[in-house]
Amino acid sequence: MKSRKIKEFVGFAVLRLATIVILSLLFIILCFVTVNGIKVVNWHFLTQMPRDGMTAGGILPAILGTFYLVVCAICFSLPLGVAAAIYLTEYAKQGKLIRVIRIGINNLAGVPSVVFGLFGLAVFVKFFGFGISILSGGLTLGILILPTIIRASEESLLVVPQSFREASLALGATKWQTIRKIVLPNSISGILTGSILGIGRAAGETAPILFTAVTFYTMKLPRSIFREVQALPYHIYALMTEGTHPEAQVPIAYGTALVLLFLVLGIDLIAIIIRNRFRRKKKW
């Protein structure tokens, strides 16, 4: 009798330990980046151009570059993704074809990001001739997060009860009026959450922009979307693997990592808060 109790106690203790290990890993990574990064990050670091061959100065071009890339990505994939989700759930006849499309989209969400980079290189950089530019990189990131946005939007459209739509149609509303006034308002939180998570992902990705958008060394800010840019994630990679003054570059990499982490986790946190708040509010 007693041995069963001991077994239970030990068993759950081991599980708790595993959980604690994972949480402390997260804590260690966050602490390490914060403690080392905070020494470097100040107002000048965020608002100045790099100097002396990337060994001094700030990271303004990288911050702006990531901002441009993300804006470009979301402008492209949000309308496309949400419209596709609306069509697939509200208009299309739910047959075999739609099921195949859905499976295809799901599978694309699991394709390695570097493969998206190759696609961007072959299509946007070379075929459309956009060159290595904000536009090419933004579109590549847009396509990378497109499956995520479609899937999140579809899921939140599907949980709106069918009776809501029927009630609206019964009152004489058209299909579009029903979607606009009933379905979308009730699913907006899920669509928003999915899109914000997409933004976070796009901001942190390096591999897709590696050969479509970024450059390590620029002296000026990009003046059009056809120019190449610096980006925060690539900046970290480049500082660690290129250049000849590691003792000067590593501290800048710490600072850049802190800025990137703050940005991406901040975006994710907003998404999680929105989701939890709306989940509590749901009436059905």
């Binding site: 069963r4 596709a84 190759l118 990679y237």
Partner: protein
């Protein structure tokens, strides 16, 4: 009448948008094959997959991706050895033992772990984990398959934990109640009833975690060491398929053999993740059917 025309137009616009999305996504597959298949005019598929030498810039070049395949395989296996016990244990703890308040706190935190960009993991690996591994094991280099495995393992944990947790939580209460009624305690119920009932769901989680590890690029590019040779020990530098593409694509001539070979590697990667996804899907379906 006017209303009907407008409705029709709106439907057509949505149809067009969704076709465009699908076209782009389909385009990835088409482009991969269009740019990757030409290499097989130079070298047979079997030789490509089983060739032991990867010297794409030599004259004549060698396009054997076996070292890269093995590199990917090694670091992925290493990652799973770390991530599966930790990730699944945490999932069981969160769904079966944690109090609701703690559960509500831990779940978002683990999701945050998934949100850390891979380049930050790579950076962490280069400045902290690699020197530590090098000193601890007395190795000539810290950037090797072992270090990469540790980091990929940490990165795969959130995927494994959150999907496993969903699966374990969705085991019907009646299963557990029946077990308690027979006199089993909480631990016995968890180990003998709940976890076996969720086994196929947990397998889905593991396979998706595996997919994440295989496809991860920046971390392995930064910490795996980058030697394109068949690894003889886990403490040797390796180079994965993803890292090869990322490292070499910048130097290739568009339309050259090297360029096509890198796309062919991407086809192999794509196929692997496709197979993983299909297996995960099938397991997930079986899980749902069993619970019904």
């Amino acid at each position: 009448m006017k209303r009907e025309r407008r409705e029709n137009l709106i439907q057509k616009i949505f149809c067009l948008f969704s076709m465009l999305s699908i076209l782009f996504l389909l385009g990835i597959v088409i482009v991969l094959f269009k740019e990757g298949l030409p290499i097989f005019r130079k070298i047979s598929l079997v030789k490509f997959l089983s060739g032991r030498l990867w010297y794409p810039t030599y004259e004549p070049p060698d396009f054997g991706i076996l070292p890269l395949l093995l590199g990917s395989l090694w670091v992925t296996l290493g990652a799973l050895i770390i991530a599966v016990p930790l990730g699944v244990s945490a999932a069981i703890y969160i769904s079966e033992a944690a109090q609701p308040r703690i559960k509500g706190l831990i779940k978002p935190v683990i999701e945050l772990l998934a949100g850390i960009p891979s380049v930050v993991y790579g950076f962490f690996g280069m400045v902290i984990v690699a020197p530590w591994v090098q000193n601890f094991f007395g190795l000539p280099v810290g950037l090797n398959a072992f270090t990469a495995s540790i980091l990929l393992g940490i990165m795969a944990i959130p995927t494994i934990t959150s999907i496993s947790e969903d699966a374990i939580s969705s085991v019907p209460k009646s299963f557990k109640e029946a077990s308690y009624a027979l006199g089993a305690n909480r631990w016995e119920t968890t180990v003998k009833i709940t976890v076996p009932a969720a086994a196929s769901g947990i397998s889905t989680a593991i396979i998706l975690g595996m997919g994440r590890a295989v496809g991860e690029t920046m971390t392995v590019l930064m910490v795996a060491g980058g030697a394109a040779v068949i690894p003889r020990s886990i403490f040797r530098p390796v180079r994965t398929m993803t890292a090869t593409i990322a490292a070499e694509m910048g130097e290739t001539v568009v339309g050259g053999d090297h360029y096509h070979a890198l796309f062919a590697i991407a086809i192999v990667l794509f196929m692997m993740t496709l197979v993983f996804n299909i297996i995960a899907d099938l397991l997930a379906q079986r899980f749902r059917r069993r619970l019904r």
